[in-house]
Symmetry: C2
Subunit: 515 residues, 2 copies
């Protein structure tokens, strides 16, 4: 059937969608979500049909993506016919029935996700089925390989290429900012890409951005790594495993994360990593609640890594409270820099040294922690971070206090004398978010008391920082309501930890998808 193109001058956010009127759809035998083949100007593309009512029946409306792919302009004649559904959709349907998918089927799905041939409905159903049925190791492997294959890859020359990753979920975890310079200072290559926060107070990219640009292209990254052995850049625009970003878009509203393993390891593989330490924070406040779950996940990481020719060690780390004291991009960058300068909190120092040590041992060194400690103590790691900052275009001589934090601040004090019984990571995240993180980089919290510490009545529990006074009062009000730092004279005096359904926090609030 010949229809006249109407160009919608808006993007369908990547999707290849064309709108036709119901009458026209009936004549074509096409229903919403069916595929249609469009031919125009010697080009042919497959689009997803969106059937609407009240449109002129002789026209087909093309979103920008499809108009560009087709080279169609307003008023052009477009040949339209029903097209068969993509083969990958058969595989998605097989997964909905609980079938195990073969490597080629998974590759087809991932390709069609990247090329926008599958709709959000179909991707959502696929991810939900993965979440419910779980993934076999060969499906995890096939997904990882397919995601690498459909994106760009980097090659930094001769192995080993080291990397470090945390599955996330712990506010204040600025370990990467310390591990990368320690490892690079030892002469190893560690090209670290990281993400920005979506719902957490800060991602590594957000932290680093308060020190230097992070949005580097592949050529610039290569140059930084050549000069310094390492980098600390944002991975989001590099098109490494782009399927992963498209999956995350759909996972986000659903609060599910079925592709954790292939998502993380495909990005590492695309960067050419050969030796990787994965941090799995474990505890009631973390994504992973129990050691049993943590060991299962760790074993899956190691196993999958082996299939992908990567040596992996997992670190089970203490995840029951925020790491260090600073929370929020700028406050965390300050704390990381202080730690490299020898003045950081003990837990930050200890965690960074442990993880860097594990990486050293993974490439054959003896007593990795000691080596990491020595590099840190010697000041070489600090110098290395400054080299990286300079190479990425930042100020190499920056002092912690130069990093700009929110001008609006207030202290939250203990209403009674006591000991910190526990700190709700979820509560801290909510308060930090109310204060403006992750988008307002100077916003956040500084904890003045950590779990187990004794505090006097009226002592400062934490300080809240914000860039705007409205946000500061929002954050303080929320802090008053949810009381993220829980005090007690003795454990026995506070047996009731929380109630469910809770008046304090919503059921879903702790889900963090960013990695």
């Amino acid at each position: 059937m010949e229809l006249i193109a109407g160009i919608l001058n808006i993007s369908a956010v990547g999707k290849r969608i064309a709108i036709i009127d119901e009458q026209t759809a009936n004549l074509l035998g096409v229903h919403s979500s069916d595929r249609i083949r469009l031919t125009c100007c010697g080009r042919e593309v497959i689009a997803i049909a969106d059937v609407a009512t009240g449109y002129p029946p002789d026209r087909i409306w093309l979103y920008l993506e499809i108009a560009q792919a087709l080279g169609a302009t307003d008023g052009k004649a477009v040949q339209v016919q029903r097209a068969p559904m993509p083969e990958s959709l058969s595989s998605v349907r097989a997964k909905l029935r609980g079938e195990r998918l073969r490597e080629q089927e998974i590759l087809n799905i991932v390709k069609d996700v990247v090329e926008q041939h599958l709709s959000d409905i179909e991707i959502a159903a696929f991810l939900t089925a993965l979440k419910v049925y779980g993934l076999s190791m060969s499906e995890n492997e096939a997904l990882s390989r397919a995601m690498v294959k459909t994106g760009k890859t980097l090659n930094f020359g001769k192995p080993p290429i080291l990397d470090k990753h945390s599955i996330g979920g712990i506010p204040g975890d600025k370990t990467s900012l310390i591990v990368v310079p320690i490892v690079a200072a030892a002469g190893f290559t560690i090209p670290k890409t990281s993400s920005r926060a979506i719902t957490s107070p800060a991602g590594t990219a957000d932290r680093v951005e308060t020190l230097c640009p992070v949005n580097l292209d592949i050529g610039e990254i290569r140059e930084v790594v050549r000069k310094t052995n390492g980098c600390l850049v944002w991975g989001g625009a590099l098109e490494l495993a782009p399927a992963d970003d498209l999956f995350i878009q759909v996972e986000y509203p659903l609060g599910i994360d079925p592709m954790l393993l292939p998502s993380i390891l495909s990005k590492k593989k695309a960067m050419g990593a050969t030796h990787v330490v994965i941090d799995i924070p474990t505890g009631t406040g973390a994504k992973i609640k129990t050691p049993t779950e943590a060991y299962t996940l760790a074993s899956d990481f190691v196993h999958l890594g082996r299939h992908l020719d990567m040596k992996i060690q997992c670190a089970l780390t203490f995840g029951d409270q925020p790491l260090g004291c600073g929370i929020g991009p700028a406050l965390e960058a300050r704390e990381a820099l202080s730690t490299l300068m020898g003045n950081g909190p003990k837990d930050v120092h200890e965690k960074a040294v442990s993880l860097a040590g594990m990486l050293f041992e993974l490439v054959g060194e003896k007593d990795g922690s000691r080596k990491a400690e020595e590099i840190l103590q010697s000041g070489k790691a600090e110098s290395k971070l400054r080299e990286i900052i300079a190479a990425q275009g930042g100020n190499a001589t920056v002092k912690p206090e130069d990093i700009s934090v929110g001008p609006e601040k207030a202290q939250v004090r203990a209403e009674e004398k006591g000991r910190v019984l526990w700190i709700s990571t979820d509560g801290i995240v909510q308060v930090a978010r109310a204060a403006g993180t992750p988008k307002e980089k100077g916003a956040g919290l500084i904890l003045h008391a950590k779990t187990g510490e004794a505090v006097a009545k009226g002592a400062v529990l934490f300080e809240v920082y914000a860039e705007r006074s409205g946000k500061l009062s929002d954050a303080l009000e929320l802090a008053k309501k949810i009381q993220p730092v829980v005090l007690s004279r003795k454990v026995e005096e506070r047996m009731l930890l929380d109630q469910f359904p809770s008046k304090k926090t919503s059921r879903d609030s702790h889900f963090m998808l960013e990695r």
Copy 2:
């Protein structure tokens, strides 16, 4: 934040979507799929954010639905802020974790589906989780009630109100066209609504439309039923259980049908039905393959009916081949009319009498089949159909040969002598579809040999009808390739029925969502 409205003069096909630029989204702390609260002109609406790149950061683009709901025009100032996610999304997420949902949670989900507060991604995930985990009886009940509550309902006065429904899947099943007039002729009220075909050769609404209009409004339906005790109308525009239609839109590309029970019974309940016969065709060519599955489904229907105050009887019917000979809207309407006039195929006659008889017995009659048979034989059912046709605005004196069928036709003949071993319902559907059904109402097939019949070499197996010669040759070519009527001299000579993966048909081709 204040943004300037840009009105997109296109519909988002019902959804309440607004597009903002990535920069603006970052400032708002909003991610794609997050909810935003828009205030303009004294009105407030919640929209789903679609985050795009390359848009002017001071603007918000509104699809028609949201612009209308807000009363916004181009250039108006709109206040935009992040809104919490809808409560129903928490319940969707709970279902993804496998939790059983309470009645109120299900009502919230269904309401938000009808009011377009849930995105396609979220609805797709919900339906997939229902498909994988299954539904408890109380979830089925809550879904049915919620779908009735969020739509229109009809009340035809004093009970009993009878109804008949097939779960579908058998090409050529024109039983409703015969059952409704038999039951109405006996003085019972039977207001039958039905659907149009999406992928099958014909729905009841498509068949009836070759006799009279089916797109009646509620007032007109009431009048037809008052005059004749029955009706045969399209239910699609009546807003009975509108959530169901929205769920079906999402189920369609996925080929899943987890809400079969509430979908069917909510529509019956909305029409005020008190006594319902459900036809469950059973056999290798049907949706339900084995008696075990059929009895399980039947038991669920009866059980759920009891919870919804409906008396239900299920008919397990032979579903191994098409019903009757005519397939396609016009050819089936011809055959139904002939059957009422005493000249139809035995199986059509027999099935209609059995189902009408079950309905009679359900309301307390003895020997229902005999009563149905008498009404059919007496010509009263034929007169009743003619009354209904007239009341709906058709020609009451129509003869079967007056119903217009496709002018293009050709015969497919037996290449060898033999006996019909089986007829692939899936193959018949594919050929009928290639010929132009369901949209081209004169298209279809007439079977000249049914399972078990002996045919001579060169005898006609079936005729193909089409409205256009191109479709006729497409259908003939496909028929030659897939050979839907399988001949064999003896069963023992044809042990290989099919091979898998098949060269003939795709793995998903037999999925039919219409009910």
